[in-house]
Symmetry: D2
Subunit: 91 residues, 4 copies
Amino acid sequence: MQPAAKTSCQKRLGRIEGQVRGVARMVAEDRYCIDVLTQLSAIRAALRRVEDEVLRDHVGHCVEHAIRSGDAEEQRRKVAELMEVFARAER
Amino acid sequence: MQPAAKTSCQKRLGRIEGQVRGVARMVAEDRYCIDVLTQLSAIRAALRRVEDEVLRDHVGHCVEHAIRSGDAEEQRRKVAELMEVFARAER
Amino acid sequence: MQPAAKTSCQKRLGRIEGQVRGVARMVAEDRYCIDVLTQLSAIRAALRRVEDEVLRDHVGHCVEHAIRSGDAEEQRRKVAELMEVFARAER
Amino acid sequence: MQPAAKTSCQKRLGRIEGQVRGVARMVAEDRYCIDVLTQLSAIRAALRRVEDEVLRDHVGHCVEHAIRSGDAEEQRRKVAELMEVFARAER
């Protein structure tokens, strides 16, 4: 990944790790289920944002590199990989 | 939460915390974006399973308690809370 | 369903039927795939809005009726039905 | 679209149109909300399958054509279009 995206994703993941620990503590302290669910759903949204950032960086650099290379086989591979990512994301 | 669901969720969350740390390491080590995305999407699926477990426990105990209480106001509150959880989950 | 929600859903479904016919015509006329996809995704969003309206009406009337009845078995059935709807919607 | 995919999508859309009409009839006949919701969610899943088929055809032909052309600008446009489709699909 490019330096800026890399730093940003690492910061986000550090925060997410803390949020996961926080929600484990909420469960331990018998906090109300609905509050636990709200927090879990916020963590999932934060992960989705990391995925969006990694994907943007991937398209801007790895896919762009394949386009510049003029290597059709490599381009097909990149498109197939993107299709798999999306098939998974829809679920 | 009930003891069994509580233990199970705490174990899951402990594993998820480790997975988040692992993916931060993957980013630090410049691992291939697509592998990072695959891992992030697996973590999101694992979080979704925790949410399912908390929700099942909530319906089996908190909502069931409201039903047994015969307190209509409390029942309405429970249903409204469920609707909010679902509105968020759909996004 | 209540008269207002019923009328509104019927109007929405009439429009959706027209949109489905329109997209079949786009396919027949070899319109660009991306435009077809955009239209299909708009139809899916419109269906989701009908589902939201039916669900709101259901909670406001059928579920509310079960709450007022004081019949715990009926209330459990309503909650179980909602959980199934949500399990399906998440997918 | 390629002839086989085109025929298949048109058949699917014809069936979906009938399903939409059927659910409008269910609403008119005051059928139980949960049954209406089940049917609406089945229609949405059917639409998603049409989208998958259009997308596969698009990647196999339009995107493949851009790869073979060796035209980098056209390839960038195809990738950008795919990203927009996915951004919409996630919602």
